[in-house]
């Protein structure tokens, strides 16, 4: 797959979109909070994947991880360039994440596990960090600074959250 992408095989990118497009769009959408902007960002991401595939190193992680990081970074860049105040949306993280999920309930992936279901049995602290990092694009240190949580705690909470979810989302 990576070789095909590096050979600029359009079919490979098409396959990649079919498999991961919705996942990346979901991640981006939850960060940028706007369908049109999300579509724009996802389009940019796939062009970036297409053009920058040479920079991807399989030794350092999976293709999807690389793509997801590209997506998150692109989405974060987008909202920052639009000077969307973080405080404005951090007031009720749970609400809006869940709201998006309800709004897009018909559009969520076929496995039917929404963000709510996924997060429900996480302890509050873990869920908070995960949402911040994963769905809002905060860096660990940003969370630590902004919410006065020790960096180590942020890391371990995130780790616990992912570890917990690991069992839940069997690939």
């Amino acid at each position: 797959m990576i070789l095909r992408l590096k050979n600029q095989d359009k079919d490979a990118l098409s396959y990649l979109y079919d498999k991961y497009g919705a996942a990346l769009y979901g991640a981006v959408q939850r960060i940028v909070q706007d369908e049109d902007v999300a579509a724009e960002v996802v389009q940019d991401i796939f062009l970036k994947i297409w053009n920058k595939i040479g920079m991807y190193d399989p030794q350092k992680g999976r293709l999807f991880t690389w793509m997801l990081n590209l997506s998150r970074n692109a989405a974060i860049d987008k909202i920052r360039s639009k000077e969307i105040k973080r405080s404005a949306k951090t007031d009720s993280i749970d609400e809006y994440v869940y709201t998006i999920d309800r709004q897009n309930s018909t559009e969520t992936s076929v496995d039917g596990i929404g963000v709510r279901e996924l997060m429900d049995d996480l302890v509050e602290e873990q869920r908070f960090v995960l949402l911040k990092v994963y769905f809002e694009g905060f860096s660990h240190s940003e969370i630590a600074d902004e919410y006065d949580i020790p960096l180590g705690t942020v890391k371990s909470r995130l780790r616990s959250a992912l570890k917990h979810l690991r069992n839940k989302v069997q690939l």
Partner: protein, 273 residues
């Protein structure tokens, strides 16, 4: 190094989320290469991350994919298509060329065959015609010879018959001399008094027109009796009408078909029995 503690620190998650400094990243990468357990944990984290992403996927707008694929196409696909065109060109163009070559040879062969065949046909036609003409000529010659043979044969038969009459002593030859003493016209009648048969033989008479014929008369008891008409060019003995008690024979020129009474003015030859 305590691997469990290292994992528990959450640095792998940071590595996955790409929030580490370049220096920290290199450090993690070195340790990943060194400790398989770390690699295993990293895989597990990636699994969960992918799982979350899949679980929280949202179906993008339907036209997004087409937009992406078309924006890709702008530069690279153009090149790609040109490449495939260039690839196809040598594939496509030589084919008609070889076909053309084939066709050229086939057409050339066909034309050659047609020309040769036409020539042969013409040649044989000519030969056939020549043979046919020669054959027709031979047939004509043959029939001509047969005709000539028949003529000669008939003539011979006639002559034999004439000789029979001439040599028959029962036939009396009556010579008729020219009435006009300045002319040398002459003819004879062979007459059999027993059977009343009579034959005419011309020695020399003048040429008549198409509308005229000679008529032979017999004088019986002083009265001219018609013995039939004949043309000026009759050869050999010609059978005439039977006559009895003839005392004289005479030939007159009459209108074609003969007359009831002789035109005495035009009497050519005459002779007494």
């Amino acid at each position: 190094m305590d691997i469990k503690e290292y994992i528990a620190s959450g640095i792998l998650e940071e590595y996955i989320f790409d929030t580490l400094s370049p220096q920290e990243r290199i450090e993690v990468e070195l340790r990943l290469a060194e400790y398989p357990e770390l690699r295993e944990e990293l895989n597990a984290i990636e699994d969960s991350l992918e799982g979350i992403a899949m679980a929280t996927a949202i179906q993008p707008p339907a036209d997004l994919k087409a937009n992406i694929m078309s924006t890709l196409g702008a530069s690279e696909v153009g090149l790609k298509e040109e490449n495939t065109k260039q690839k196809e060109e040598p594939k496509v163009i030589p084919m008609p060329q070889t076909n053309n070559g084939m066709w050229k040879y086939m057409v050339a062969a066909s034309v050659t065959i047609a020309l040769v065949t036409s020539y042969l046909a013409y040649d044989y036609h000519g030969k056939w015609k020549a043979s046919s003409d020669a054959f027709a000529q031979l047939q004509a010659q043959n029939s001509q010879m047969a005709e000539q043979y028949n003529q000669v044969n008939n003539r011979l038969d006639d002559l034999v018959a004439d000789i029979d009459i001439i040599s028959d002593t029962d036939f009396k030859r009556v010579n008729m001399g020219a009435v006009d003493p300045t002319q040398s016209y002459a003819a004879s009648v062979y007459w059999n008094a027993k059977t009343d048969e009579a034959y005419l033989n011309i020695k020399q008479l003048k040429t008549l027109t198409e509308e005229q014929q000679y008529q032979l008369w017999a004088i019986v008891d002083g009265v001219p009796v018609d013995m039939g008409v004949f043309d000026f060019d009759v050869e050999g003995l010609m059978k005439m009408k039977n006559v009895q008690n003839a005392s004289m024979f005479a030939v007159t020129i009459e209108p074609k078909g003969g007359s009831e009474n002789p035109t005495l003015d035009l009497m050519q030859v005459a002779g007494a029995v």
